[in-house]
């Protein structure tokens, strides 16, 4: 039995170290002194701890402003996305409506629309709404997303109808049934959807670049573009990786906090089909 356990631990170590290798490599590179890569001195451990890369990265662009923008629009877009998904998933799972299955399929199918194909038409809408270079453009259009609807719809379908019937017998309508029964019973799924939605916003590059113009309105991934080198000079890898870590760390922390809920959350709906 002990031998078994050893093999399992070894297998785990192997897979997990391969999975974390890119992250480790980012950290090592971010600590290298400038030019370490170019001279070929790059190794498994930084030749010297060059913490200045982080301040250099931070100062290369208005990262403070970008953090505020990313956080504010990320929270707002996530909120709208998840609230909308909760309401819609409940309607899909519970409420009667003619030709409901067609509507459900039509919404789920939008997962197959690539963001890049929506850039221009949605930009035209933003112009008509006069939302260019404002938080509105960063918050509202990305909020229409089918994946959270799909996950919550699957989840809500696993909640026994007896719960709903009991609530109804107590005189609760759909609104109260949703908030008093479905939502409390779905905290894990909601936590999962929140994290996934927030990550999607936090990491998005193309849409924010297209709809914002000024540094006042821009988000972190655009900040990383300031760190990429010129075509003529190539990348300054240590500073670029330091900047990347600055962008990643807040979400890693968020995940560490949300982890427990999250792990339980996404799957139950999937399991019961």
């Amino acid at each position: 039995m002990n031998q078994h356990r050893f093999i399992r631990l070894a297998g785990l170590l192997l897979i997990v170290s391969v999975l974390t290798l890119p992250f480790y490599w980012m950290v090592v590179t971010a600590l290298q002194p400038p030019g370490a890569l170019v001279t070929g001195a790059h190794a498994w451990w930084p030749s010297e701890m060059h913490w200045a890369n982080f301040s250099d990265a931070w100062n290369a662009a208005p990262f403070g402003q970008f953090f505020v923008n990313s956080a504010a629009t990320g929270v707002a877009a996530t909120t709208i996305q998840v609230l909308g998904a909760i309401l819609m998933a409940y309607a899909f799972a519970v409420i009667q409506f003619p030709a409901k299955s067609v509507i459900v399929i039509a919404v789920i199918a939008t997962m197959a629309v690539p963001e890049e194909a929506k850039l221009v038409p949605n930009f035209l809408l933003m112009r008509d709404f006069e939302w260019i270079d404002s938080y509105w453009a960063l918050i509202v259009p990305p909020a229409a997303h089918a994946f959270p609807v799909f996950v919550l719809y699957q989840w809500f379908r696993t909640i026994p109808t007896s719960m709903r019937d009991a609530a109804r017998a107590d005189g609760a309508g759909h609104w109260r049934t949703l908030w008093l029964i479905y939502v409390p019973m779905s905290r894990p799924a909601i936590a999962a959807v929140v994290v996934i939605a927030f990550l999607g916003r936090w990491n998005d590059f193309l849409w924010p670049l297209i709809v914002t113009n000024t540094a006042e309105m821009r988000t972190l991934p655009i900040g990383l573009a300031y760190l990429r080198g010129l075509e003529e000079t190539g990348n300054q890898w240590p500073v670029l990786m330091a900047g990347s870590l600055l962008v990643i760390l807040p979400v890693l922390l968020l995940y560490a906090v949300a982890q427990r809920q999250f792990v339980e959350g996404i799957t139950r709906g999937a399991i019961k089909g």
Binding site: L12, I15, L19, T20, H174, W202, P221, V247, I248, F262
Partner: protein
């Protein structure tokens, strides 16, 4: 149900789903319709008006070898990513399922790929895959061979994109499998043990069949997401080294619209993509009846 309460029910449905339906209509269906219109025109986004050309763009796409090449690349990519990520994630979940020292830490670490900004991760992978500087150089050095430069070879660059895609997918798939495993009734395994079934047989005949719904869910959502891959190509290879070696469908769409100034053609690509993906998804649903076991 009386007519009155039925009307109330319908109204409630509209109140609940309505706000989101409006959003989907505006920000997803309107772009599809707009693309459908543009796909019948010749336009570069900047000329005053699009010129109507009928189905010419679709005919052009059908005869352009690049279309077929990127479609093939994308399907290869999606299948490889979904299959490899699920196998590794399933193995990882089996290992993590039973108590083992450092389980929480391993679980957190396994999820870091999904959290990492794709743009940043792609750049880190460029460094990792370098045969002279990265960890690969250490391995090659130990083996005493001159390692290949993946990003420089035709198939290698596609493999590199697949590795990155799979790496990102493993984290989230593991979490799904883990939770799935926790719902399996322990007594099933216990009685199988009593009957003398080994751990492989138990995995094969109890665990895997019970996990088919999870596998299906992951295959479906992972497949759609994989078909839409753009960022890693944009950051790592730009479809090269010799276009379209490692180009995916959506990168090709972007390049056609913004680098080759052919928005009409790019819109035709978008419309076809939507149609094909929905068809493939429907096919997966149909095929699923043969192998997915719901309780």
């Amino acid at each position: 149900m009386s007519a009155k309460s039925q009307r109330r029910e319908w109204l409630t449905f509209l109140l609940f789903a309505g706000p989101n339906l409006i959003m989907f209509g505006l920000f997803t269906y309107w772009p599809i319709l707009y693309s459908a219109y543009l796909s019948l025109t010749d336009w570069n986004l900047i000329a005053a008006t699009p010129v109507f050309v009928g189905i010419k763009n679709y005919a052009d796409l059908a005869t352009d070898p690049e279309t077929w090449r990127v479609t093939g690349n994308t399907i290869i990519y999606a299948v490889c990513v979904v299959v490899s990520a699920q196998i590794i994630a399933f193995a990882l979940a089996l290992l993590l399922h039973r108590p083992i020292p450092g389980r929480t830490l391993f679980r957190t670490l396994a999820f870091t790929p999904y959290v990492t900004t794709t743009a940043a991760a792609a750049l880190a992978w460029v460094l990792l895959l370098d045969p002279r500087l990265g960890p690969l150089s250490t391995i090659y050095g130990l083996l005493g061979v001159e390692g290949p430069d993946l990003l420089r070879s035709g198939t290698g660059s596609l493999v590199a994109i697949i590795v990155v895609g799979s790496w990102k997918e493993i984290g989230i798939a593991t979490i799904f499998f883990l939770a799935g495993l926790q719902t399996i009734d322990r007594s099933l395994h216990e009685s199988a043990s009593l009957e003398g079934a080994g751990s492989w047989a138990q995995t094969r005949f109890i665990t895997i069949p019970l996990m088919t719904p999870v596998i299906f869910f992951l295959a479906l959502s992972g497949f759609i997401a994989a078909l839409k891959t753009f960022e890693s190509v944009y950051m790592m290879t730009e479809g090269g080294p010799v276009y379209p070696d490692s180009s995916t469908y959506v990168f090709h769409l972007y390049k056609t619209g913004f680098r080759d100034f052919r928005a009409g053609l790019a819109s035709a690509l978008a419309v076809l993509f939507f149609a094909l993906t929905v068809l493939m998804t429907a096919a997966q649903f149909r095929f699923a009846r043969l192998w997915v076991h719901y309780e």
